[in-house]
Each structure stands twice: as structure tokens, then as C-alpha cells.
């Protein structure tokens, strides 16, 4: 019997399945549930590296220090990190937990969107000049929106929200229910949002009450789901929309 590989998480991201097809003229948003942080890092970096290979602009936002992410990313894939950052093709940002963000989670999302954007007009917003230079064609296509920020092609939002305690899970569930629609800020960005789960299978089977409810909410909100079990057990990536 023929075996298929395209559903394995790493193959899925390296083959750019997340960005393969737009939905209603917006890009796909994927959620990654993982059991091992190291495996999740491979998947998230894989998503970014596949984007860089395709000359997409990529963002990586996590609670980890930028230097730490830089080193990890360079360990996974050979890339000219400094040059890519300088050109505005790659943005790595550290971000505090959305749960505790001053002004609320919506403000936090706006802040993330701002950090993943550059301004095409006056140069405000960081790497505008470099971005214009390297992504001239893209910007020309966006000529009508000269004064508006353009977000990156793809981004990883990793562990922006604590989901260890039940209160945190409830808060995240509320965030996804209330503010997922605000993800239109990322309509032109392929997003990969990752969350740790102690036991994916038990949670999916509904054996973990609050966590199962939370997973259920996220499965209904996202366009793609990637389950990464322990690296020994692999996982599966599924399109939902």
C-alpha cells in the first residue's frame, strides 16, 4: 500500500502547503498544536525558511529574545540572517504575553501587526526604505495604498499566549472567539500560530475538559491545523477550509 508523506508536519510546511491556496482572497491561517518545543521550533522555522526560499517576507514573533531566535534559526537552516533582516525580508520580534498586554489583547494584536509591517509612504515603521528597495514590485502593486502599512507575506506567532493554567486557557479561548476576526489585520499574511498541548490525542478526544473545549474553538477558527506529537510519533497537518 502506498504511503503518503505530505501530511507530515515538516513536509507540509517545507512544501508550502499552508500558503498553497487563498481563502476568499485572504491568506491561510494555521494553528500548530505541539507536545515538544524542539519539534515545534523545527516546524515554525521550516515555515519561515520555505518562505525565505520563495523570497517571501517573513516575520517571527515569540516571547523568546531575538538573539536566541536568531541562533536557533541559523542552526536549523543556513541563511544570511543579518542580510535578510537588513533587507526587511525577515523580521524577528520579541513580544510579551498578549494576556497581560496593556490596553488588552486587541491592542496587543495591533501592536504585533504594526511590528510585522513597514510603511510604504514616509518610511515610518522601521525598515521601509530597505523594503521598498528589495520588494519594489510588490510595493508597486500596492500603489493605491501608499499611506498604508503593508504586512509581511508570512509570519509565525509563537507562544504569545500562556495556555498552561485553566484561567489562561479560558482567556485564550475568549481572545480567539472575540478577536479572531481582527486577524483581518493579517489578511495578506500567511500565519502560523503555535500552542503547546501536553497530550494532543487526549485533548482532541475531549478527555481534557477546558483544554478540549479550547482546542475545539481553535479548530473551528483556523484554516489549517497541524498536530505535532512527540518527534518520534510525527504528526499530521490538515486543511480545514
Amino acid at each position: 500500500m502506498e504511503k503518503i508523506q505530505e501530511t507530515s508536519p515538516l513536509r507540509f510546511v517545507y512544501n508550502d502547503k499552508i500558503v498553497s491556496e487563498n481563502i476568499d482572497s485572504r491568506r491561510r491561517h494555521a494553528v500548530l498544536f505541539y507536545e515538544e518545543p524542539e519539534y515545534a521550533a523545527q516546524i515554525c522555522f521550516g515555515f519561515v525558511l520555505a518562505g525565505l526560499d520563495a523570497r517571501n517576507s517573513c516575520g517571527y514573533v515569540s516571547k523568546d529574545p531575538v538573539e536566541y531566535v536568531r541562533n536557533e534559526m541559523m542552526a536549523v537552516g543556513a541563511l544570511d540572517y543579518e542580510q535578510l533582516v537588513k533587507e526587511g525580508i525577515l523580521k524577528v520580534e520579541q513580544f510579551a504575553d498578549l494576556y497581560d498586554y496593556p490596553g488588552g489583547a486587541k491592542k496587543g494584536l495591533e501592536e504585533i501587526a504594526a511590528r510585522l509591517s513597514w510603511n510604504t509612504g514616509t518610511g515610518k515603521g522601521g525598515n521601509g526604505a530597505a523594503a521598498r528597495k528589495t520588494r519594489a514590485e510588490y510595493i508597486r502593486l500596492q500603489a493605491k495604498n501608499q499611506d498604508r502599512a503593508i504586512v509581511l507575506d508570512r509570519a509565525v506567532l509563537k507562544c504569545l499566549h500562556k495556555v498552561r493554567l485553566s484561567e489562561e486557557v479560558k482567556a485564550n479561548m475568549s481572545l480567539e472567539k472575540k478577536h479572531h476576526t481582527n486577524f483581518h489585520m493579517f489578511a495578506q499574511t500567511s500565519l502560523l500560530v503555535s500552542y503547546p498541548v501536553r497530550n494532543i490525542l487526549a485533548t482532541a478526544k475531549g478527555q481534557s475538559e477546558i483544554y478540549s473545549d479550547w482546542m475545539n474553538v481553535l479548530i473551528r477558527k483556523y484554516d489549517t491545523v497541524i498536530y505535532a506529537f512527540s518527534s518520534m510519533d510525527g504528526g499530521i497537518a490538515l486543511n480545514l477550509a
Binding site: E2, E6, A204, I219, R220, Y227, D233, G235, L238
Partner: protein, 327 residues
Amino acid sequence: MSYRVNWYYERYYHPLYDKIWQVLLTNLHHSLRIRPLMTENAGYHPHHNISFGDEGNYYQVAFDKVRDNLSRGLASVYAIQSIATEDTRAAVIRGMEKVGIDNVAQHVESGMIVLIDNNTFYSKAGLNTQALKNYWRSILANMNRKLKSSYNGVSALFSAESYVNRNLYDTFMAWEILEDRRPAVQSELFCWYKKQWLDRLSFIHLVRLFTSHNSTVHKNWNYKDWSDSEIVDLIEQGIERILGPKPTQVLIETVRMRYGLSREEIASRPEYFESILHKMLEDDASTILDSAADVLKKALAYEAIHQNGRALPTGKNRGRPSDGRLG
């Protein structure tokens, strides 16, 4: 008890009652073992069954079945072979005589054996499922008129060959499902399949074969009832061959969470399940569905009725074969 059932169906039929009655019967069969009693008392097995055979023994076992029916006072409908010409008709009668049925022509004359050309269903009903159903019911009614009270029931052997050969299996399947909604309790139906037809059937067809029949029939007339959960067990086995156990289980749970299709419902809504898999897995869905179909085929044709030897498969959550038997 069976007479009460007949009376009930004829006077107060409602689709919901069928469902309730089937659930009651299924539970009773397993807990109180009343099915053998029903079979002995009424002289027939009031179920819609499916059996598979190799080309070589396909007709032989059917002839044996007709002989055993006669010994139990059951009239037989034999509709699995061509009798379009005198020669083919004579060959069928000779086949019956070879298994020890005396005076076949006399039984045909009396109405205890009804020979129907296997193409007649298509020529009479074509693509009209309702016509197919009506034709079958007219056969029963004619037999009832002719035999009056001199028989204990009807045992019918049907073939889907005329539809399978024309690639019109959907029509036959629609009839199978329609018939299942109102079981003909005065008769037992055996859909007499050849193993090689299985390769022409899709995943959806195969699931429907399980759900539209009460039992599969295996060696030594061993009946196996399949619950929806057991059918999904088979589908899962097929998916696991490709994806492995954990991914398969989260796949099934994701189908439930995102699309509201529970594990048990997969058996009753295979079309929806298939469309979801195509959405979730794109081109890879075909590989997975083929694998699931392969497991379903093996379970359907396992220990085909003419064979001797091993018992039924005993995988996870596999129910025991029911002990009802006939013939």
C-alpha cells in the same frame, strides 16, 4: 412473534418505527439470543443479507441453498443466473437436480421455486429505483397468491450483475438502501455477490453495502451483524495503514470538531466523510480512501460462504458473529 411483526408493519408502518424496531431487535439478538427461535418458528430469517463467492462455487452454493429452503418449507426466488434461453434455463434446472432437488420442474410449477433471469431486474426497472422495488414486491405478492398458506416464507437470492456489468451500480445501491428502510419481513433476501465485483465499487458503495444489509454471510452460513461503530473500526484500520494510529485518531476527532460528523455517523454518512477527507487531505485523500476500501472489501469477502476454515476476524471492538443461521 414474527406474525405480530408482519401485522404491525402492514398496518402501522412509519419509517421511525423501523428504526426503533431494528434497534430493539439488534439488542435482543445479542442479549436474549432470540433470533434462532424466530428463525425456527417462522421458518425464515427476516433479514437482508449479503454474501460473496468465487466464480467457481457461486452457483453451487446457491443451489444448495434452494435445496435447504425446500426442506424447510421456504419458497425460493432464484435470480442470480441467466435463464433467457431454453438451454440456460435447462442448465439451471440440471444444477439444482445435481444437488439433490427432485422434481425441480414440479417445484417451479407449484411456485416453490421461482426462476428469474438475472437481467430481468434491469430490463423491467432500468434506472428507476422505485420500479425496482415495485417489481420485487410484485414477485412476493404473486408467490403469496400462488402458494397461499402452503409455505413458511420466501428466501430470495438476488444478483446485482446486470447493474454492475453496466456500471450502473448506484441504481442498484439505491434500491438496496430503499429496501432496507422497510425490511420485507416475510422474506429473507440474499444479495449474491461475486468477489471480483468488489473491485468495481467505491468507498461509499462499500460502506453502503454494510449499512444497507443486516448481516454479511460467511462460511457455514455464519451471519455477522455490523454495528456502525464496527464499520468505522474497519475504516479506521484502513486509514491507519497509511497515516499510523495517532494521526488517524486526531483526524477522526478533527472531523468531529470542525465538521460536526461524529465517529459513529461516518458509517451512515460516507459521502460527507469522503468530501471532508478530500478537503482536508487534497490528493492524498484518494490513497487513504483506497486503503479504507481495501479493508472493507476484505471484511465483506472474508471467509466467503462456500469456504471452510477459520472463524471471523477478531480485531479491536469486533463483535462476535451472531448465532442466527439458516440453511
